[in-house]
């Protein structure tokens, strides 16, 4: 019985000890992780085109490997070999969607004992029907930079974290802007993927 209790305790402890999780995929070079923003279909309300770009850019830049390149007119919904961030209708509750569009499973590397396959194309779409906001004020909108930072955590190969307060923690309360900045756990997760290039 004592052993059972010990295992149960270990089980509970494991989720908080492990923190970040990995998705088994990574970008093999920073050049491949360049994303192109299609702002042509952005939200009509409350946030300008330049603000959209700066908020999304901040979310991308939070993770060192990824960057925002030139603008594009391509759709973020298609498998076309280009990493696109775009806007579209995604329904009444979906704020952002990440598509792992293409992964090359014939190429892999090992880092810190973890196996990673090669990302070829990832696309991200945000819902243009929502009210997005830029500042940390709480006015009934959604934090574009915070959501972008979380989504791009997945884009660089992270899964969810069990550490409450981490950007990659999968639940955020209303008016919580903490996901804009990376926690130690987020950084540890990133380093677990990219400390060996």
């Amino acid at each position: 019985m004592k052993k059972i209790a010990l295992y149960a305790a270990l089980l509970c402890l494991s989720s908080s000890l492990f923190g970040y999780t990995l998705n088994g995929r990574k970008w093999f070079s920073s050049g491949e992780a360049t994303f192109h923003l299609n702002n042509s279909n952005g939200p009509a309300c409350c946030i300008s085109s330049s603000e959209q770009q700066s908020e999304i850019s901040a979310g991308v830049r939070a993770w060192g490997i990824a960057s925002l390149g030139s603008a594009t007119t391509l759709s973020g919904a298609r498998a076309d070999g280009v990493n696109v961030v775009s806007w579209s209708k995604l329904g009444g509750t979906t704020l952002g969607v990440t598509n792992y569009t293409t992964t090359d499973t014939s190429q892999s590397v090992t880092c810190g004992g973890n196996l990673f396959y090669r990302f070829v194309e990832v696309d991200v779409r945000f819902n243009n029907a929502f009210k997005w906001q830029t500042s940390s004020g709480c006015s009934g909108g959604y934090d574009l930079q915070g959501v972008a930072t979380h989504e791009f955590g997945h884009v660089v190969g992270l899964g969810h974290s069990s550490v409450n307060g981490a950007t990659m923690y999968p639940s955020v309360g209303a008016c919580d802007f903490s996901t804009q900045s990376l926690s130690t756990d987020d950084k540890n997760g990133y380093n677990a993927i990219y400390s060996c290039r």
Binding site: K3, S14, T93, N99, H154
Partner: protein, 177 residues
């Protein structure tokens, strides 16, 4: 035996942690029903990856409707809706956080119309598996682990008796009238 069970459970937890997400705005049960144009119980008759009008790969799900709880679909009708992503022409597009369907599965789905096509409300958020407990009582369960939820005001419901959902649907209908 117990030791094996606990170790197996730990393994499951670790495996389940390898997941990723799409972000949805959290809505409580009743609000989610109100936002759903259709709420249907039925059997998945088949799935097929196709291109939608934008040229993206989506998976069409054909559902044999057993019990229409809300909306215009009829009992015995094959109702089709779509999930983002799928395997087609050598591409395997994975929309993280999207619901997964298997032929023969009994499901309860909450559907919304997006640009003329029906999708589950909030991807995996709107898809429930219909199961029975050892006593034969029907329950519905959903898998939210791949979703990032924003604006969470309560612990999201992941399983409940089917009867409870029927009450929620009736209450939402009463409020709408």
């Amino acid at each position: 035996m117990r030791k094996s069970f606990v170790l197996a459970l730990m393994g499951l937890v670790l495996a389940a942690a390898v997941a990723s997400a799409t972000t949805v705005a959290y809505v409580p049960m009743k609000r989610a029903v109100q936002m759903s144009e259709l709420v249907l119980i039925g059997y998945v008759m088949g799935t097929e990856a196709v291109y939608d009008r934008e040229g993206q790969i989506v998976t069409r799900i054909d559902l044999l409707v057993e019990t229409p709880l809300k909306g215009g679909a009829g009992r015995g009708e094959i109702f089709s809706f779509y999930a983002w992503g799928g395997h087609l022409d050598g591409y395997n597009v994975e929309t993280v956080g999207e619901a997964h369907y298997k032929t023969g599965q009994k499901v309860l789905v909450q559907l919304e119309n997006i640009e003329g096509d029906y999708h589950t409300l909030g991807l995996a958020f709107g898809k429930w598996d219909v199961v029975r407990d050892p006593a034969g009582k029907p329950w519905i369960t959903r898998n939210l682990e791949d979703l990032n939820m924003v604006g969470v005001t309560e612990a999201p419901v992941e399983q409940l008796p089917l009867d409870h959902m029927l009450r929620v649907v009736r209450e939402a209908a009463r409020l709408a009238n």
